[in-house]
């Protein structure tokens, strides 16, 4: 019995370790980095009302006031950081942030760019985004931080191109614990939201869903659907489907056979969500699905479609085949 217990403990520990520290090529992370950067750049351009949003000449409501007597904690530090940004300062920071996003997309100085963007995002969070109190702003901060720790700039990037020119080969396999964290965060997002809806009074029937079609966030399409006078029972059933979908995504996303259905349902859900409601920010979840796919499959796909015609691609492919066989 003692031996069995020890074996069980070791087995669980091994599985835990294998789950959190998979080893593989970082191509999926790199693809996600590019989409994440593009998503942010689009959002950033839409926030181009620099004077009104980000300067003291506009609607200036920082989260913490400027400290009266020096910096002694996080709040006073942020207060000092966000104290009275002039219009020139606001424009300079805005343009630097846009440049950082371009660096992230092309993968130039990826880690430095991601860390700088993370710090910039913290600054903007406490200067402006905090006023919304929305979950996606916090989610985007978490993703940025995890991407900074990850090897997402090691391939499909200007960094890897420069490294190749200097004779340094891109890493074929590395620890993907950051990729796993991102996957778990996405799974938590679905599961937590499903659990919340399951237990919330507001989601006990379809009323909340029906009202969201003509609420504050509703788009024209939302209002058009609302005017169709769909029977309330349809929203009751839809609510049940949404809760079941959100709860089951945890299994669907991680299960190799079923995950394509998870990707399809999730994509449809987010596309429908952002067409009916003015909340396009959650569209960033769709490209994150690539992180759930076996990293070797992603790498092979990229090599077959984008790198096979080059000499470097051929070498990389040969090495991949050798490694896979080994």
């Amino acid at each position: 019995v003692e031996l069995n217990l020890r074996d069980t403990v070791f087995s669980v520990a091994r599985r835990w370790d294998a789950f959190w520290f998979p080893v593989g090529p970082p191509h999926a992370l790199a693809v996600f980095r590019i989409f994440f950067g593009l998503f942010w750049l689009t959002r950033w351009i839409s926030l181009g009302h620099v004077k009104i949003l980000f300067s003291e000449d506009g609607l200036y409501f920082p989260a913490f006031p400027a400290p009266q007597s020096g910096i002694h904690d996080f709040e006073s530090f942020i207060g000092a950081l966000t104290a009275s940004p002039s219009l020139l300062q606001a424009w300079t920071l805005y343009l630097i942030t846009a440049a950082l996003l371009l660096f992230i997309i092309v993968g130039a100085f990826s880690r430095i760019a991601l860390l700088s963007f993370f710090l910039a995002d913290i600054y903007y969070y406490y200067l402006y985004f905090h006023l919304h109190g929305t979950s996606f702003d916090r989610l985007l901060l978490i993703i940025t931080f995890v991407l900074f720790l990850s090897p997402c700039g090691a391939v499909l990037s200007a960094d890897s191109w420069w490294a190749k020119r200097r004779g340094i080969k891109p890493p074929l396999r590395c620890s993907l614990w950051c990729q796993r964290i991102l996957c778990v965060q996405v799974a938590f997002l679905y599961f937590g939201t499903g659990i919340h809806k399951l237990t919330s009074e507001a989601w006990k029937n379809g009323d909340n869903l029906a009202a969201s079609f003509y609420g504050d966030y509703a788009t024209r399409l939302g209002f058009w659907i609302a005017r169709l006078n769909v029977p309330p029972g349809v929203f009751d059933v839809l609510t049940i489907f949404i809760v079941l979908f959100e709860l089951s995504m945890v299994i669907l996303l991680f299960h190799k056979r079923w995950q394509k259905w998870g990707f399809l349902c999730g994509s449809l859900f987010h596309l429908a969500n952002s067409s009916i409601l003015w909340i396009p920010e959650f569209l960033v979840i769709i490209p994150s699905y690539i992180l759930f796919i076996d990293p070797d499959i992603v790498r092979r796909f990229i090599e077959d479609h984008f790198e096979s015609n080059t000499e470097e691609g051929g070498v990389l492919k040969a090495e991949t085949t050798r490694e896979t066989l080994a």
Binding site: F21, A63, H132, G133, T134, Y214, G215, W278
Partner: protein, 170 residues
Amino acid sequence: MGRLQKLAAYLLILGFLYANIDGMLLSWHIRFTPTAWNRGYLSNFFYMYGVFLEVHRTNREYVAFGSTARLGEIPRAPTSGMMDLNLRQYYPQSHGESNQRLSFAGYLNRPSCCNVEYDKLAFYIKRLHNIDKPQQQVQGVYIYVLYWPASSQGYYARVDEAEVEFLGWN
């Protein structure tokens, strides 16, 4: 991966799991938080699961009105002599996002918003308006919110039934 790196990664993973589970438990108002975590900027950081917490039954619109002279008494509702300053032009986002910002719902460490914020907002609007339109200078700016029943026929379908609430001025 070196041992130290792995240890750091483990600590980060455990912290990440803890924060997410703590965020999920918040849905039931259950918390197991150490004091260090229980700060305004940290405590709710991973709470991202509560969406559309209430059934939407009321529409609202924040408005700003200006007067060319200082008024002796603050009008509790916009009057015919006041100028609509089109507050929406300073909030280029969608209705939902603008209303969220204007309600100061996410203002950290300030769970219930107070008129001080609206007084400040009135000051900013006055400054922006007087710079943009120097020929139509205003001396006083008053912020109100209109509430009316939501309707599937359109956002403003029942705006005629709106009730007005005064929020702040400068």
